[in-house]
Structure formats: C-alpha cells, structure tokens
Symmetry: C2
Subunit: 670 residues, 2 copies
C-alpha cells in the first residue's frame, strides 16, 4: 500500500513526488481515518456509490443552472435515502458524512432540514400522541418538512421573533400570523418550493398574554397539488453566494388556522379552554446542537483538507520560474512562500479533524452520563462546541481561500473546485451560531470562571483548570526540534491565561471608570473574543497531542510530529504578540519560532503530496480538475471547458444581434 | 447639503443616524472626490446614465444565467461606447471608471480587453504602417480584438510561453502553432466567443533559432460568419468564481499561417529573407501597466467602500439583542465587535482611494519627465505600483468578506450585493501580477537598496530614503488623542526599517550557512514579503497624511483625523509584534494602541452612516438591497426574491417528477 496512488500514465512530477516520500500512505490514511476497518469501509462505500446509476450526475453540477441543480439534487436525495441501508446509520459522523458527500457533493438539497432539523425536533418536542402521529409520516417520507425559525428581521435573538400563534378557544385553533414584513420567515432550507410541512417557532398568545416562543407544526402546501394553502405565501429567497441546490424559502402567514394539537406539547401545554401549562423546568437541551456542530466541524475540516489536497497536487505539477537558466522551470511547491500559504492549513486539517472526533467522543460520554443523571460536563461541552465551531469555520474559510489563491488564475475557475468549496464552507461562519456571538458565549463562561477563581469559589471544568495553575513567567522554547509538546502546550496556556485575565481586569477597570457592566462588556468585547480564541487554541493543541501519542509507527509518528509542530509554531507566530507580552518570550525566541516554521516547511516539502494522498479523497469526492490524482491537469481542463454553456454553439447570438452589425457598419465607413 | 440623503418614508433608524452626525456629508463628499466640479460631474453622469433606455438591465443581473448575462453585457457595451462622448475621455481615472461602473456593474464584458489591452498594445508595438492599418479598425469597432498571452501551463514567467511563430521565407508567412496542450492560450477575456482578432505573444523561430517572445496580430474568426478560421480552435473556458459576463477563452493553433507583416515590428523586425533585426535597446515599458494598476487600485478601493457602505447602513437598521430588558433591540452597529469588523476597512477605503490618486499623479509626473528624457522615478514608480497593488487587493478582499460576514445570513444572499463584490474584487489578487510575486519584486528592490547602503553607494529613491535615517529606538506613542502623524509615520518607518534589515541579515546568514543565493532568497521569502508590506504601509501612511492636510474645514478635518488614526493604530495592532520588537514599543504602549482603537471606534460610531453617505454611491451603483439609501431593507428583499428563477412557477417540476410520487407511495403504506 506504500505507493498505491501511482498508476501508469500519471503526470511525471506527481509520480516522482509519490516515489520520493518517506512513509506509507496507507498507514497514515489508516491512522487518520481511525483504523483499518474504517479505512476499508471508505473504499466499500465509494465502490457502492460509483456503481449506482441513479447516484450519478448527467453533467458536472457546476455547469447546471440553479433550477437544473435543484432538480438533480431532488432526484439524487430520493435515490440516496432509498439506499441508505448500505451504510451504518449509527455512524453519521463518518459513514453518513462520506456517503452524503459522495452522492450530493458540496451542496444542500430539498430534504437537508427534513433530516437535520424536522425529524430531530419532532423527536424532542412532541408528546407521545404527537410523536406517534408525526414521526412515522416524516421518517417514511410521506411528508417533507422543514424548520422555519429565522425571520427577515430576526436571527440569533430568538426571543424577539415576531410571528404569533394566537389561541382561539371558540374553534380550538391557533391563528398563525405574520404581523410585519420583518416577521416573514426567511432562509429555512427546503421551505421555498419543496416542503409541505414546517415547524414554526412563534410567540404563543392566549387571551392577549404572550407566553413566549413555542413550536407549531404546520401544513403549508396541499398534499395532492402541492399548491400553497390559502393564507400561506411561500417561495424561494433567491440566489446566494453558494449552495445553489437547496430552495431556502420565505413564508408569510395571513391569519392561518391550525388545530390546537399542532402545538408541540412535550414541555408546555395549552388546554382546550385556553389554560396554559408552563414547562416544569427549563431543560438543558444542548444535545442536538452540540452533535450538529461536531458533525459540521468534521465536514469543515474535510473541506479544508480537500482544498489543501488540490493546492498541493497542483503545486507539484505546475512549474513556473527558473532558479538556474537552462534547467526546467521550478515546481511551484518548491517556493517557500507557496509552502507557507498552504502547509499551515494542511496542519490545521489534521488538528481540526482529530479535535472534531474528540468533541464527538465527549458528546457521547456526556450523553451516557446524562442517562445516569450526571450533568457535570454539559456546560463545558456546550461552550467548547461553540468556540470550537467559531474558530474552525473561520480558519477553514481563510485556509480554503489561501489554497485557491495559491493556485493562481486557475484557482478562480470552477474547474479547480475551490470556488465551490469556499462558498460552501464559509457559510459555516454564519449558520449554527454566528461566530462572534459564539466567541462571546465562550468569553462569558471564561469571565464567570475568573470571577469564581478570584472569589475562591471556583468549581472548574477540566478544560478551564489551567486558569488556576501557577503562572509561568518565561517560555523554555529554544528551537523546534528539541521542543516538547508539553512545554508548547504550557506556552499556549500561559498566553491564554494572560489574555483571559487581561480581559477581565480591563472590564473591571472600565466599570471603575463609570461604565455600566453592559458597556464595559461591549468596550472590552474585542479582547474577550481574543481570550476565547486562545482558550480554544489550548484545547486544539492538547487534543492533537493526545491523539498522536496513540501512533505506534515511527515513520508516521515523524510526519505527525512535523505537522503538530508546524501547527503550534504557526499559531504562536500568528498570535506572537500574545507570547511576546510581559517578556514571556524574547525576540530571540520569536525569531526561533519563525525560523522553525520555515525549516519545518522545508522538511514537509518532500512529503506533502503523500500526506494529502493520505486523506484518501477519491477523484469523485474531491471533484477538482486541478486536484486530480493523476496530475494530468491541463488536458482535463480543456475537456472540462467543453461543457460550458457558451460552447453549445460555435457562434453566439450576440454576433448576429449586436457585434456583427456594429463591425459591419464600421467597416463600411473605413 | 448637510443632510441631503434624508427623504420622507426612509427607515427611522437610518434617518436618526443621518440627523445625529456632526458634519456636512456634502463637504466630505466634495473632499473625497476632489472638489466641487468633480462632485457635480458625478451627479451629471449618474443622471445621464439613468436617462438612457439602452443602459438599463431588464432584470437584476444576479438573476440572469451566464448566457443571458453575456448577451446583456454585449448589448450594453455597444450602447456605452456609442455614447462615450458624454464623458471626458481624458479622465478615465474618475469619469471613465464611474461611467463604466454605472452601466456595466461589477462585471467585465466582451470588449474589456479590446479597450484595455488590444488597442494599447497596437499603439505601443506597431510600426507606422501597422499603426495606420490596425488602429482605425480597432478604434472604430470594425474588429473586436483581445490579447492572448497566458497559456494553460504558463502565467507569470512569460519567457517560457510555448506557442511558436515559425517564419516560412518561401511564403513570407509565420506559422503559428500550439505544440502541446499546456501551450493552449487560456483565460484571455473576450477570446472565447466574441473577438475576431487577437494579439498573440509567441516564440519567434527563424531557421530553427528561437529569437524570443514577439507579438503577432491574428485574425481568428471569419468577419462575415464569425466562424473560427481553419486551423483555429477557440472557445469559452467555462464558469468561474465571478465575473460571468465575459467569455474568457482558450485558443489552439494548428499550423496556422499569417502574413509576415502581422508581426508587430516597432522594436524588432523580420525581413522577407528571414533576416532578424533585434531591438536596439530593451525599453522600459512600465507605463501602461502602472496606469492600469492605479486604475485598478482606485476601483478596488471603491469596491471596498461599497462593501463598507452596505455593512454600515445595514448595521444601522438591523436590530438584534437586548442590553436592557423592555427596551428596543440594539442596532448591531452599537456592538464594538461589529465596529471592529467594519470600521478599519472604512478607514482603509479612504487611505487606498487617496493613495491611488497619489500613484496616478506620480505616473503623470513620470510621464512628463520621460518626455524630457528623465527616467529617475521610473523604477520607483514601478516598484511602488506593484507593492501597492498587492497590499491593496488583499486588504480589499479581506475587508469585503468581513463586511459580508458582518451582515450575517443576509450577507450570503446575492440580495446584499456582497458575494458579487467579493468575487469581482478578489480576482485582483491574481491578475495584473500575482500578489506574492509582486511583493517579492518590491523585496528585490529593497534588498538591492540595503546592499547599496551597506556598501555606501546608495542613490536612494525618495520612497526609500527613510532606510538611511537614524534608527529610532523608542516610540514616543502615549495615547491616540495626543499622537502626532509625524511621530506615527516614524513608528511605521522604524518597523519597516527593522524588518527590511532583518530580512537582509537573515539572507546573509543563510548564505554563510552554505545556502546558495537562490536558496537563501527562497528560505527568507516569507520575511521578505513582510518587509515589502511594511514598506508599502509607510507609503500609505505618508500619502494619507499629505492629502488630509489639504482639508480646510474643521468639521471634516476632525473626521479625517479619526479615520487616519484608526488606520494607523489598526495597522500597528495588526503588525504589533513588528512594533514590539527590540522594545521599540512597550507592552503598555501596545495596550494604549489597542485601547485607542476601541475608543476611536466609539467616536466614529455616530458618524459612520454619514461617512459612508459621503462616498456618494447611488443606489444604482451600490446595487445592494441591504445597502439601500432609504434603509427599507426587508420589504425590498421580499420584492427582490420574486425574481428568483424558482419562483416562476408555484409548483416546481420536482414535485410531479420526484417528491409527489415518493410521498404518495409512503402515505399509501401508512
């Protein structure tokens, strides 16, 4: 399995790269994907997907119009769910994500929210009768549902959603209504044209009194004709930066009536006489969200890995510039600036992938504990997943775009796949909790912790224990080869601790200077975000370290060590002022960090193609002309371009209609 | 003119913002746009454009397919050039860019290269007979031409282009040929479907000897039928990340013959007997490129200004979150984190706009000097324009994307205009000289300068004079209000000087450690790029300062001062390690820089809407539902969505074909 990606007819440069690497791609791939059985399953799933006729695209999706893409996705999502039994459905994290990505590509589809939100919300929010009624309908695909929470004017602060559900005791019904334009439901996936049902969070009004947000299940289109029901206005919200294959929708209610039993009543109830029964206690219901975020982060890490794979493979076959006259042009992968643009994101892909697994495992542990009534880790996990999501999605977006730019002009073409990867991944900075809001949630937790520490009442979550440790006043870092992970992690902890206490003290000072607590929080919020980022970095560093110590193969351990060191030094360099502060590191040490990065880049250079081969992307999954396994990029680009909409006719209508007459008239005058 | 943007029916929040600002929008707009006459012309041009029926789009372009967009642009570019006499054609920098942007939007078109490259190359490279023949044809629009330099496998290093032009003395012709797939001409705008002529740089071969790259003008399509001529294969290269309205093309020659006189012969000639006459001296021909870059940077700065305008206006009308229960939700512009995301880019827009003008003026001065035979400033200008382009395009791309993310979910919709602004502007990081290559060109100049200084032979260009100054060992910065521009500029110079000499010494060290000069350059290249960036920052800082001292209105001067300070402190904070290094600034000073930023953000907050109003974007030019002057965003989004391709029918075909049968079959089984 050592050089298993080499085949006859491959581009010579990429073959030489594969021959020149020092380790077994199969072994690293097995380590990345969590063991031989999992690695084997990846091949099986790929083979299965490639064999199904109804999983195939008639033309590459990037050449489809939005409508064609929506139609193609509709066809494929039915085919996919028809054959879902092929994969282990208890393993959404790995098998599920891979299966979906191989079939649906980098896009959502009409039923993304049916599976991601509609069914889970039914499972979590209904009473027993409701569950018995709705769940079979949803699971059997007898109805298509979505979850319509956000409104045109309302996102994160859901308590201010404007849609109302007013109880009418006379008819035993709720009247759903959209009182203003800004109350229009907006963005929900599959809402525009595909769903005939939606779960609607709305303000519950009984006898003029607002009982707060509750959830209602609503039929919005006729089951037979699929026409919107009277009182419903619904449609697509129009083109977006990416993710064209899903009909994100809007929805307006005009005094639309639904039966009382369509309010989900697991926690609160409305009786037929209008009596309101409040929930017994406000439940901690972080579970689904945390799981979705760990799924999301795994997918994001894979998107970054894909971008890095494309950029590195292309940089191996692209030659440009000369070092010595008369020699062949240089492979652009040889340029330190090119390595510096790409390899740190290669390192991040590993760190994020491993950390996503750790968060998922933590989620599993918490779920087990919860069934025993132990809630100790719930808040920690919630905070961790929020901060983790914010840091990862932003780094991934930056990294993909750097990879794209590193491919020069061709990176701008959809042939590279990179514009689509970027527009797909960057949406993650906004959905499932806007990143800045997430960072401030983490900061809220950190400030509470510092306050408790200062008042000696702290009961610290494991992830925050380092805040209690003694301050280290001087980094022991000398040079990268000799640096120990434990010491580097301590450096990260010190930088984080320093920033976290700084932010706390800064807020205290602002309050002494007559700012209200809210103002002080706001004025310090940029520093608070930085505290959260450094806090999350500590988690990443520790998490990577705890994973790679499990590696028993020296040839692989060497690669993982280079990658880990690059990650750590690059992050120190990125935040180097935080490490330089209070003379924790000297100028000399910072210089050694930077020079260490350049040396590691040089060490990774001959391994780079083999490392990205180890992510085990098939050409199908990668979907990139620039990133093809065989490296035969240019001929493939020419082939690809033939699909262009403009190439369907040799002469465009613009000639007859516009340019032909213009030129002829000018020629007649010369 | 104080509050001239307020109209009845406007969103209340945005009106309050305009009422609450401290200065006259008209006065700031006049200052930005270079005087009352220029400001007046902007209004005239807008009015003219709005009155021309043939300049209008039938539907917003973001709802068009690529083909529709290409057709619409073809129609409009003819209409635009028909009426070009309305503007002052000697003022491309301001009137030309505005006119084009109002009519063509953020897109290129079939004749972008005809005007941008084809005509200028004819002007620069032909002998007199050739000029007399080709220029009237091009200018009168009797032919459409493009410039086809890059090939599939070759970009920046043009000496390695593969296309050949072999002289055949028997027929007095050149034979153009594409010897390999990687020699396929690729990317040229308008080449795919629109142009019938192209200028082709190719290797000139005479009697088996390669004379290097020369330019040839080639007819590629029949004038009457527009069919590709025999021996020519040509087409569109397929969809890209953005800029859909232009047919970037590919071109393959199969031993295609052209007359000898189609080689441009201003500098070298080929006689009919095959004799080659080499150019007398290799000319400095930076002129066009420098001018194109200063145009480009002005346009980039305006794109950033547009993004900032959208983000700030939307942040004024978007309310989310509560500081005190019971009060209205907070305008998101009140969040310091939101200000921190957007306002530094507001400041950059000003700095870049003013610097673009300075580069343009320098270009004019150099051109005057050149006609007197003075070449002193040519290299300086060339280097400056390269570095300036690299720094500006990257900051602009980052800034636009931050503005987009700051608009939350709606920023992801094409309704915001931001995805299009981003994909249009970010291409600038790659074309007209890839950014990293540009930074390394600047570094080459800086290292040569240091070497000359060290060997006491330096004849320094004005822009590099500070490299000779005495080193300053301690910044005098205390707090932002009291800080003087001169001192801050010195801080920048010291940081740049420090980094430039550091990079030089690092290279020396590497050479002592047995690296070849090429290896040493490569190993140090990341530090070299950083040296170039800091060098360019010094120019920006000085250039802004020299512009705003011309402001005579105190109310405007105050705003320009806040903007300038924000720019400078933000850049210090971004590169804060470079300022902390060698204890040039202390931790306390860095803290004051950061706290200074937060305070300036607070000071700019009430002025922000009025400041962006001063950019004087019409709704037509801004083309953003989120950035509308009137702030009535939500109703307009709903209107906008009605154009969606998916909303043309109430029920999509996916229901009848896929989802209907799926659901019906499931229901029949329940």
């Amino acid at each position: 399995m050592r050089h298993n990606l080499i085949e006859p007819g491959d581009n010579e440069d990429i073959t030489n790269e594969r021959r020149g690497s020092s380790f077994s791609v199969g072994k690293l791939a097995t380590f990345i994907h969590g063991g031989e059985e999992k690695f084997r399953r990846r091949q099986e799933i790929l083979k299965f997907v490639e064999a199904q006729e109804d999983f195939q695209d008639p033309i590459p999706p990037e050449f489809m119009s939005r409508k064609e893409r929506v139609e193609n996705n509709a066809r494929k999502i039915i085919a996919m769910t028809n054959k879902i039994a092929f994969i282990d459905q208890s393993d959404i994290f790995e098998e599920g994500l891979l299966f979906q990505s191989l079939i649906m590509g980098r896009d959502f589809h009409a039923m993304s929210l049916h599976y991601g939100m509609f069914i889970p919300t039914i499972q979590g929010q209904t009473d027993d009768d409701q569950l018995d009624y709705w769940l079979p309908l949803a699971v059997s695909r007898a109805i298509i549902g979505t979850y319509a929470q956000t409104e045109l004017g309302h996102g994160t602060n859901i308590s201010k959603l404007e849609t109302t559900a007013t109880y009418d005791a006379k008819t035993d019904e709720f009247v759903l209504h959209t009182p203003t334009v800004s109350a229009t439901k907006w963005w929900s996936g599959g809402l525009g044209k595909s769903s005939n049902h939606a779960i609607i969070p709305a303000q519950l009004i009984i006898n003029g009194s607002n009982k707060g947000l509750h959830m209602f299940i609503v039929q919005i289109r006729d089951l037979k004709t699929h026409m919107p029901l009277p009182g419903i206005t619904v449609g697509d919200i129009g083109p977006k930066m990416g993710i064209p294959g899903i009909d994100n929708g809007f929805l307006i209610f005009n005094n639309y009536r639904i039966p009382r039993k369509n309010m989900f009543m697991r926690y609160s109830q409305v009786l037929s006489n209008g009596e309101y029964i409040a929930p017994k206690h406000s439940k901690l219901r972080y579970g689904t969200m945390v799981f979705v975020r760990s799924l999301m982060v795994r997918d994001q890490a894979m998107q970054l890995a894909a971008a890095v794979t494309i950029a590195i493979r292309y940089s191996a076959v692209r030659r440009q510039g000369e070092w010595k006259p008369g020699l062949k042009e240089v492979q652009i992968l040889d340029y330190r600036t090119q390595q510096y643009r790409i390899f740190p994101y290669l390192a991040q892909s590993f760190v994020f992938l491993f950390a996503a697994t750790e968060v998922k495992n933590l989620y599993m542990r918490v779920n087990e504990q919860l069934s025993d009534g132990i809630t100790e880790l719930v808040q920690e996990l919630h905070i961790l997943s929020a901060g983790f999501k914010a840091v990862v999605t932003w780094e991934v977006a930056k990294g993909i775009e750097q990879c794209r730019l590193a491919c020069g002009g061709h990176g701008y073409s959809h042939a590279s796949g990179l514009p689509e990867i970027y527009s797909f991944a960057v949406a993650g900075c906004t959905y499932e909790g806007e990143n800045i809001v997430m960072l401030l949630q983490v900061a809220r937790f950190l400030m509470k912790t510092v306050k408790e520490i200062r008042s000696s009442s702290a009961h610290l979550a494991a992830i925050a224990k380092y805040l209690l440790d003694d301050w280290k006043h001087k980094s022991s870092f000398r040079e990268w080869q000799a640096a120990k992970y434990e010491d580097l992690v301590e450096d990260f902890e010190q930088a984080a601790r320093n920033q976290i206490y700084f932010a706390y003290d800064y807020m205290q000072q602002l309050q002494k200077d007559n700012h209200s607590p809210e103002e002080a929080w706001n004025c310090a919020s940029v520093e608070l975000c930085q505290a959260s980022r450094l806090h999350i970095l500590c988690f990443m560093a520790k998490s990577y370290f705890s994973r790679i110590v499990q590696c028993t193969e020296p040839e692989i351990a060497r690669i993982l060590d280079l990658i880990g060191k690059l990650y750590l030094l690059y992050e120190i360099s990125t935040h180097c002022y935080s490490f330089r502060k209070a003379d924790y590191m000297s100028d000399e040490q910072i210089k050694n960090v930077k020079c260490g990065i350049y040396e590691i880049l040089g060490n990774l250079r001959p391994e780079a193609v083999a490392i990205v081969d180890s992510f085990d992307f098939s050409d199908r999954e990668l979907h990139s002309v620039l990133g093809r396994r065989d490296g035969n990029v240019y001929a493939a680009m020419l082939e690809w371009a033939k699909y262009s909409e403009l190439n369907k006719t040799e002469v465009l209508s613009t000639f007859k209609q516009y340019f032909g007459p213009m030129m002829e008239s000018a020629r007649s005058k010369i």
